[in-house]
């Protein structure tokens, strides 16, 4: 099932299908390892706030706005 990263609960995993947004943002995320077919795990969610996600062993904090642009296939 395809959802955005922002729809996942903490502890859930998904595989990135698509990232929307300007080229700059997409490239920046790609540099951090957020690219299609990559597995992402939501580690923690701050109330109304950013998502802590785990990609390739690293935890990143992503603003909710960005999490809404990342589409994943829920695992």
């Amino acid at each position: 099932m395809i959802k955005t990263l922002a729809d996942l609960n903490s502890g859930e995993k998904g595989i990135i299908v698509k990232i929307e947004g300007g080229r700059g943002l997409v490239k920046r995320l790609a540099d951090l390892g957020l690219i299609s077919e990559q597995e992402v795990e939501v580690v923690r969610i701050a109330p109304h706030g950013p998502f802590a996600i785990k990609v390739r062993g690293t935890v990143y904090a992503l603003g909710r706005g960005i999490a809404k642009k990342i589409y994943v296939n829920v695992v």
Binding site: D31, G33, A52, R56, Y60, A61, I66
Partner: protein, 647 residues
């Protein structure tokens, strides 16, 4: 560089490159020891650290590049690192990587490899990787990348000798560096371009140039290329995007990650998996409720201690300086000169030092500790939601928190923010934060004579003002708040030396910015005093001070002095009225208004200097005037209201 000395005696320059938190600065400190200088990259606000060491008869110069994730050009740091490597200055690039984050680290390594410069890999934090249950085979990494790799544990100094020896060997061998090969279609596109650009820019490796052209690199695109080359690039890019259905720069990044992932998988495997110490700690530190409580307690306790320590140290220092005073005043010059020298120049200098050493240095050490332990990133994570309301993302909380120690580092600390808009908002908000000097006034006046609850009310009013100002600025300042993208590194115990060094560098920066202004300011004030202008100034200010703010006329001149150093307002008030019992000269309303006004009325001179340095003259003036107008309006109105209640 191009000296005629035999190569073996020439200085060898090693550039340290790597991701943030990979342990680069620890490696740097371990190698260079004390022999180093910290400064800024020419014309940039990015820190540059350089060190020297004579290692087995070789003179080594080590340059620590900024910690970055990629060699694209999205940040100033990335551009600086890339330009320095391509300039040909470093004889060898030493890439420090975190073994526990192998895949992401190698993504960066591959980009370094593309630059075709001598490269050595320092596979760091093998102990951390092991504690996560990861076994790393350094030799396989070396073989697959085609470059030397040395396993190290920088914090314990392990493997560093071998690292240096291997690096020096590398400069002597002068072998060709083979760039990484990517997938079929991309390789074809690269080859298609290489031939037509081969001799255009000899300073760049042509394969790298071809990749950058395909990647649409901002800097490389600025260079002139023949029309047919650009057309070809455009055609190949379109082809790639059509087959992959993604922007071409992402396709290349994916290629790099695919290769990095292959290398990581063949050279590292899990012996066992277990929850790391840091992950366990995060269930508390990042908890939606307990996390905030923990943050509040940590900051409150830390600031309490820092404030107490600062008070004590500054008392000791002032005691020391009071011994110098009679000596200076007895100097065989005229009395006028001695007064200017002591009250003007020296007291400005002493002011600077008695703020910098007791208050700001411990504060900087605490901050560096927070930063290097990884907790600062967690504060940014927790604060993100709230900070968005005032036009900042989570990292904006960092300068705001720093402001409670001193506004100068807070303003300098706005560098962590990406856009000018954010930096202006964050700077303005942090100049409204009651720093330790203003805390002295609030606690010493309102706290002592009216009670702690009244002091707390001042802090609350201040927070409401900051929130409102931020909210309004966010609404009317054109532009958008960027979203947070930030690594949350594992919690770890910071290594002491780099932490202290970082604090020391920052305190030096504070002194170079603030001291000239403090000395100049105190000289001007001494002249005003000698000219006997106190009375006239009080008279000129009295409509505002007496009528509007309802304060005694005598406070006028103290507020002028307070621009130099905020707590001078209170010190001078007691000097002028010959008492430390302020209840004799101020009624409760006046105490409250006086404290609130000194908190808000203007950034101190040193802060204005910092604003000027970070945001330019115009912005510094606008923000300063804005603050004066805001405080006069706000505190004046509050005074008119309070008159009815407190009399």
């Amino acid at each position: 560089m191009k000296s005629k000395v035999a190569i073996s005696n020439r200085e060898v320059t090693i550039a340290l490159a790597g991701n943030p938190n990979a342990g680069k600065s620890v490696v740097f400190n371990q190698i260079t020891g004390g022999n180093q200088i910290i400064g800024n990259w020419p014309g940039k606000t990015v820190e540059r650290t350089e060190g020297w060491i004579n290692y087995r008869g070789k003179n080594l110069r080590i340059v620590d590049l900024p910690g970055i994730y990629s060699l694209s050009t999205y940040t100033e740091e990335e551009l600086i690192a890339r330009e320095f490597i391509l300039s040909g200055t470093p004889d060898v690039i030493m890439n420090v990587i975190d073994a526990s984050l192998l895949e992401r680290s190698l993504f960066f390594t591959l980009q370094l490899l593309e630059l075709e410069r001598p490269l050595i890999l320092a596979v760091n934090q093998l102990d951390m990787a092991e504690s996560k249950g990861l076994k790393t085979d350094v030799n396989t990494i070396s073989k697959l990348l085609g470059i030397p790799a040395v396993g190290i544990i920088a914090t314990k100094g392990k493997g560093l000798n071998r690292l240096l020896t291997t690096a020096i060997e590398l400069t002597e061998k002068r072998e060709e560096v083979k760039p990484p090969a990517y997938g079929g279609e991309i390789e074809q596109s690269i080859k298609g371009i290489i031939d037509s650009i081969k001799n255009l820019y000899p300073e760049y490796p042509s394969r790298w140039l071809a990749i950058k052209l395909i990647e649409d690199d901002r800097e490389i695109k600025k260079l002139p290329f023949p029309e047919e080359v650009l057309e070809k690039v455009e055609f190949l890019k379109n082809e790639l995007e059509k087959t992959h259905g993604e922007p071409v720069e992402v396709i290349i990044s994916s290629e790099r990650y695919a290769l990095a992932s292959r290398i990581a998988r063949s050279s590292q495997y899990y012996v066992r998996t277990r929850t790391s110490f840091s992950q366990g700690l995060d269930t508390i530190l990042l908890h939606p409720v307990i996390g905030y409580i923990t943050m509040g307690i940590i900051l409150f306790v830390a600031f309490g201690i820092l404030f107490e320590v600062g008070g004590y140290l500054s008392w000791v220092l002032e005691g020391l300086f009071s011994y110098i005073k009679p000596i200076v005043l007895r100097l065989p010059f005229s009395g006028l000169f001695n007064d200017l020298l002591w009250n003007g120049i020296l007291s400005g200098l002493i002011s600077g030092i008695t703020i910098a050493l007791p208050y700001i240095l411990p504060f900087y050490i605490f901050l560096a500790f927070l930063e290097n332990s990884g907790y600062l990133a967690r504060i940014a994570f927790l604060a993100d939601t709230l900070m968005h309301k005032v036009g900042l993302h989570g990292k904006g909380a960092i300068p705001i928190i720093m402001g409670y120690g001193c506004n100068v580092p807070a303003v300098l600390g706005t560098r962590v923010l990406e856009s000018k808009r954010e930096r202006i908002i964050a700077s303005f908000l942090s100049t409204l934060i009651p720093c330790s000097a203003r805390t002295v006034i609030i606690l010493g006046l309102v706290g002592v004579f009216m009670g702690p609850w009244w002091a707390l009310i001042i802090y609350l009013i201040d927070l409401i003002v900051i929130y409102t100002v931020g909210y309004i600025m966010n609404k009317y300042y054109p532009g958008e708040t960027p979203s947070l993208i930030m690594e949350v590194p594992d919690i770890r115990v910071p290594v002491l030396k780099p932490t202290l060094r970082q604090a020391w560098f920052r305190i030096k920066e504070f002194l170079t910015i603030a001291l000239p202004y403090m000395i100049g300011g105190s000289l001007v004030l001494e002249i005003i005093k000698m000219a006997g202008w106190f009375e006239p100034i009080n008279r000129v200010l009295s409509p505002v001070i007496v009528r509007w703010l309802g304060l005694p006329a005598i406070t006028g001149i103290t507020l002028i002095f307070g621009v130099l150093r905020k707590e001078l307002t209170l010190i001078l008030l007691s000097t002028f009225s010959n008492t430390t019992n302020f209840s004799l000269i101020l009624n409760p309303r006046q105490m409250f208004i006086f404290s609130l006004f000194t908190t808000l009325y203007v950034p101190c001179l040193a802060t204005i200097a910092a604003l000027k340095k970070e945001l330019g003259n115009t912005n510094a003036i606008i923000l300063t005037l804005g603050e004066i107008i805001l405080s006069l309006g706000l505190v004046g109105i509050l005074n008119q209201i309070l008159i009815h209640f407190l009399g």
